[in-house]
Amino acid sequence: MKEEMVTASDVKFSYRGGELVLDGVGLRVRRGEILGILGPNGSGKTTFIKCLNRILKPHQGEILLQERNLEDYSRKEVAAKVGFVPQRSDSGVSSPMVFDIVMMGRRPHMTWQSGKEDESIVWAIMEELDVAHLATRHFNELSSGQSQRVLIARAIAQDADVLLLDEPTSNLDVRFQMEVMGLIRKIVDEKNVCSCAIVHDLDLAMKYCDKVILLNDGKIRSAGTPLEALTCETIREVYGVRAYIEELHGRYRVLVE
């Protein structure tokens, strides 16, 4: 059995005394796996993923990173192990340049200044995500798809064992949806790391995820392989739409009525 990277169990969380946004959720991701987190808007996906890298602290429950309690890590250790692409990224007064943003991903690995090695890593990743030609552009001058790719590049530059991705494909065109998911797949396989990605597209989840969890109202409705967890019943119950799972050319697709 592969090493368990992230194990969360019975996580409960609420924002500042409000009602429970997460009510006893958990997951388990091993090396080499992509776990898809699905669920309707407002079901607590973003909140959950932020608990996994300690941006938010759950009130209850346990989160283990490589079988050690997440609380016991230092800030820098967490940053070196867990990369994060937020759903939204705002940049205030004047936004940094693309190259500098990707370079930010190297921060957990630098002592004081970035070196030549960091630079070559950053360039290689930027080539791979096809943002190298944007290197000197300012972040707020990019299209949303381009900025999405830049942020993913930054998370990959972080060289983390766990990639937390909050809707990595939401602004991308068809080709880049495939390419980004394919790239995440490739990185997870080659570097033997793992990823938790929030995905809205059921087809993408079917194709690229090894496991999924389906959240509804802060609770887990179903979990398992995509085929086990995403069935006509669970989809109808959670999203309120009728759907069929069809096999086409050896792949499973979700048809929504």
């Binding site: 990369g83 939204r88 940049s91 007064v93 004047s94 943003i101």
Partner: protein, 329 residues
């Protein structure tokens, strides 16, 4: 830019209401440092140089630099292009301190340092209050700006009330002080401000990279291992502290904080490690030039330098805001 500062400083030494030739000015100055090599000058020349001109120029340069840096830090931390340390109530706090000194004659330290200590203490009140909150929980940039503005209003109404009851000459003094002026510069301020400035530059250099990352959002910064609350709190406190120091020495001189970062961003981009030193230089130059104009335009009458910086600064500011379209960030 550093060269420009020194040239401007060098020239400023020679400008003043008294009729000293530039050569005489320098010989007096250098004569203080190396007494053997220069001719003796009458004591009143020495007095003019050492007590009036030299402190004015040196304090002006230092205060300008400190104000310029403060603007950079605040705009970056508060994610607001109009933010300055003054936004957080530093200047209005200082004005209250000054009012209490002038109108009621009450001060924390007696005598000469009364005004300065009062202004310094009161300008630190808002940031202390904010620190108190920041230690307990995370506060967003917007909340900080709004609470700073609220503080400013509280202070300015406190000020109005005091002025309402104060006698005319005291009120006039307060008003004059709040314009900002370098005439009360003193030689002892120079080493204090200088040491402060060096420490200030070092701290911002150290925090600069993290503050740059924080512009991408707090969550991103936290996921890269930055203690967001600590960096923000530290930057705020240091910036407000240094600005309070500058304001206590020279009064709340306007626009340097706002203008220097904006102009320098066009020159060197927005990376704080480069922006901060550039803005410091620019702030110095702006204040020195304004001071020279203040000294010469209506000579022998001297204008308060705060009024001149605003007079020069405001149009440039407005021009920049309107020409912003089509410009790189």
């Amino acid at each position: 830019m550093v060269v420009v500062i020194f040239v401007t400083m060098g020239y400023s030494f020679t400008v003043g209401t008294a009729n000293l030739t530039p050569r005489e000015s320098y010989e007096v100055l250098l004569g203080q440092l190396f007494p053997d090599h220069f001719p003796e000058y009458p004591p009143n020349y020495i007095f003019i140089m050492m007590n009036l001109r030299a402190p004015r120029v040196l304090v002006g340069a230092l205060v300008g630099a400190i104000l310029g840096i403060g603007g950079c830090i605040m705009q970056s931390i508060l994610k607001n292009p109009l933010a300055t340390p003054y936004t957080l109530g530093v200047s209005s706090g200082a004005a209250v301190g000054a009012s209490i000194y002038f109108i009621f004659g009450i001060s924390i330290f007696g005598g000469h340092a009364g005004l300065i200590s009062n202004a310094f203490f009161f300008s630190l009140l808002p940031v202390c209050a904010m620190m108190f909150v920041l230690l307990r929980r995370t506060v967003s940039a917007v909340t900080l700006v709004l609470s700073g503005v609220a503080f400013s209003y509280v202070f300015s109404s406190a000020n109005s009330i005091m002025q309402y009851f104060g006698d005319d000459s005291a009120v006039a003094q307060v008003v004059f002080w709040t314009i900002g002026d370098l005439t009360s510069s003193d030689m002892w301020m120079v080493p204090v401000l200088f040491v402060g400035l060096v420490a200030y530059l070092a701290i911002t250099w150290y925090l600069g990279k993290d503050m740059d990352i924080m512009r991408m959002g707090d969550d991103t910064a936290a996921s890269l291992g930055i203690n967001v609350n600590l960096v923000r709190g530290l930057a705020l406190v240091v910036a407000c502290f240094m600005t309070a120091l500058a304001v206590a020495c020279a009064g709340p001189i306007g626009f340097v904080c706002l203008l220097a970062p904006h102009i320098c961003r066009r020159l060197v981009g927005s990376e704080l490690r480069w922006l901060v030193p550039t803005a410091a230089c620019f702030g110095s130059i702006l204040l020195l030039v304004s001071d020279m104009i203040a000294k010469t335009v209506l000579a022998p009458q001297m204008l308060p330098v705060g009024a001149v910086t605003a007079l020069i600064g405001a149009p440039i500011m407005v021009y920049m805001l309107y020409s912003k379209r089509g410009m790189r960030s």
